[in-house]
Amino acid sequence: MTKRLAVASTALVLLVPLAACGADPGPAADPAAEEEPGYLAVADTSLEGTGTLRVHLDYDTAEAAGLDPRSADVARSWSLMGLSYDTLVEVGPDFEFLPSLAESWRTPDPTTYVFTLRDDAVFSNGRPMTARDVRRSLEHLLESESTWAAQLGPVESVEETGEHEVTVRLEHPHTAFLGALANTPAGILPMEEVDGGSVDLTAEMVGTGPYVATEHIQDESWTFEVNEHYWGEPPAVERLEISIVADEFNRAAALRDGSADFAYFNNIDTLDQLEAEPAARVVFQENTDFYYLILNSANPGSPLADDRVRFAVNAAVDRNQLSELALGGHARPTGVAPATLPDACPAGELPSALLDDDEIAEILEEAGVTEVELSLVTFNSETAPGQIAQVVQQQLAGHGLSVDIDIVDDASFGAALYSGSTATDDMGVSWYAGYGDASMVSRWWNTDTAAFTADFMVGDPAVNDLVVQAGRTPRGPEREAVIADLCAAVDERSEVVPLVTRPSVIGYRTDAVSPTLHSVEGYGDILRNITDFRLVSS
């Protein structure tokens, strides 16, 4: 992070005069303004251009199981694999669920989902999709015991109940079921070929989606061409040339000089760097992802093993100030239910938010904690975690707590906090994907099922029970109450403290493309509406 910050800041400082010599672009448009409710941008359907879209992404998919979507764990894998694989349902701009390969569905009771399948979906190898493919795809996912199989929930059975109908029965209600079905790991696979051994899911992608991957150079590039068998309207973007450009500064340069048409950024400062570019529009997209602060309760030698100290530290963190100083005011304070999802709990009403400085001081004094030095570790592949760590450091300094920050690479960060043995660092800053339902991310606070948290969380049976309840209670007032209780319980435990949402920036050249973009994204899939994109010219 330090190097990239140095690179960007030095370049900016040295080249301010150069930038100032450019044409005045006039007042910048609000990057968070919606063109339509729920949409940052809506493709201009009057544009008739077709051809190639050049996209720059920050990292490539590199999963242990190659291109097999079932175990895909990161957002870029979901985006890239999602170009070839369709899911039964997809998520809309307000986190409602929309038809995809399932043209409709009904829930005769809270544990039964009956999906009516499209009869015109065809895999890219030319074979029509069948109910068997759908049944076996879901079974195949469940057999994988992957993270996403767990998100799919307590599936009791999957049956073919008609030529174009599949019925899924659950052991008990699972509110996030459709949310789990809507993401790429639940993509529908050509199971006849997979079971027959003629398709190796780890090496190739044969789906019903709009594109077929024709070339992939690891960590360098992808080329996707239109799937001639695609069941939807033929996309205007006939060819996608995706470059993997790790450096944020480089992606901004490519957008500026026109060698990229569309690019993703996770540094909020890119908004400022690119707003002077007349041919580029930069928009700020909210996510359900959020940053969290680990307060290690599992290490008996740490002052944070004391529940009172953790709660005081949590209360000493001002989330609004954190958003202002570290993320340009573009992040929302959040509890364990992401602030950008429908069932969010107001962060300002959490127990820790109600404490004033005197009360925090009293708790620390009562716990005998004065002049304590705490260690905090975070990672450098993004700029925000280091910035958040520094703001937390300053905020805790105001309460007599000294924080020593260690910013390391991803592998070292993993070794520090997720090695399988008790973490020795007192604190850590990272982020969780928020997905499409409030109960999905809250699973990571259930120490009965989220084994990976054992390195830094002792856990609490009451919290675990509330996580289970949040997952089983149907959407409505009752669930809102459960989630409010869960948010409060997680906040009081203060083992992993939700901080603020994790915004991102999308830039595109208005002389090349007119995209459709949701205002809030749940699965980090910036290419979600690629079939709606329009190109300015051929």
């Binding site: 080249l15 450096d247 026109g258 060698s259």
Partner: protein, 321 residues
């Protein structure tokens, strides 16, 4: 042919250095915190899943066993498979090496073509206060400005001007040599700034040292022209230290390429190494670093040979050691 008497010893020494370096590299990589399983499986994976992946890649064996296995394969040209892509490292390296070789070669050309004449100019015009000050300022800046800062400034400037792609436009040299050379022009110049400045300084100092030698004074007394003195007396004698430095910094350019390739988004050896390091892709890291070490050792050897040819006293000295 006195060179033949000491060359075998040097070659043997180089081989010993390479084997020792390979062991050090292998061990150092294993001491890095975190591993591939940590990165690729992410934080949500269980300890059992990580362990299974480690076993799949043979990381459950002792480091000694892993090293001997890797070394045994490496001497046959098999450097293993990239953990991330599953492709042979040798193949991925072969695809990226031409770009880095071209980038480095261009930087060497700029170093020699610009650095040496600048040094001679500075060394033979010491009387002019203004030129001396300017020369020192330029060389100091060249040596002290980090290449990642300069590279970022150049990328920003080029991307702000309508000159075409500023980053990521470097293709395969075999397919479009002209286009590749053009695209590599900015990164190679950035890469060469340090070496130009260092070479100019070394050349200047070497020229100044030779200029006060009695045989140069004698040449002046004989009325030989300035150009003749520089080309026939100064350059040959100043060449040895300049050559030594140029050889060393040429090998160092590979290190600089790691940064410059990353900033200019050049798909070469340097960016391959950075990606490998980030993922703890051990075969990739080991092979890249070993290759860089080999280049360094070979350059030192070549410099020794050429120096011996230019100045037989060095060869004698080398033999006597």
């Amino acid at each position: 042919m006195r060179i033949l008497t000491w060359l075998p010893g040097r070659l043997l020494g180089a081989a010993v250095v390479l084997v020792g370096a390979s062991a050090l590299i292998f061990a150092a990589v294993r001491f890095l915190p975190g591993d591939y399983a940590q990165i690729v499986l992410g934080p949500l994976a269980s300890a059992q899943e990580r362990e299974a992946l480690r076993t799949e890649f043979g990381f459950d064996r002792t480091v000694g066993e892993q090293y001997l296995l890797w070394l045994g394969q490496a001497v046959t040209g098999n450097f293993g498979h990239s953990l991330a892509s599953g492709q042979p490292v040798a193949g991925e390296l072969a695809a990226r090496l031409p770009v880095t070789a071209l980038l480095t070669a261009m930087a060497v050309v700029w170093t020699v073509v610009i650095g040496v004449p600048l040094g001679i100019l500075a060394g033979t015009r010491t009387g002019t206060t203004r030129s001396t000050a300017a020369g020192r300022l330029v060389s100091s800046l060249g040596v002290s400005v980090p290449d990642y800062v300069l590279a970022a400034v150049v990328v920003f400037a080029l991307s702000s001007l309508p000159l075409g792609p500023s980053v990521g436009a470097v293709g395969a040299p075999a397919q479009d040599l002209g286009g590749t050379l053009l695209a590599l022009l900015p990164p190679s110049l950035v890469l060469a700034v340090f070496t130009i400045a260092a070479t100019a300084r070394a050349t200047r100092d070497a020229v100044l040292n030779v200029l006060v030698e009695p045989h140069v004074s004698a040449a002046v007394a004989r009325g030989e022209t300035r150009l003749f003195i520089i080309t026939h007396h100064v350059l040959r004698n100043a060449a040895v230290p300049v050559l030594t430095l140029t050889g060393t910094i040429t090998a160092m350019l590979l290190g600089g390429a790691v940064i410059v390739e990353s900033v200019f988004d050049v798909s070469g050896l340097g960016s391959y190494l950075v990606q490998g390091l980030g993922r703890r892709d051990y075969p990739v890291i080991q092979t890249c670093v070993l290759l860089a070490t080999t280049v360094f050792v070979l350059m030192s050897l070549i410099v020794d040979v050429v120096t011996g040819l230019l100045d037989p006293r060095v060869a004698v000295s080398g033999r006597s050691r």
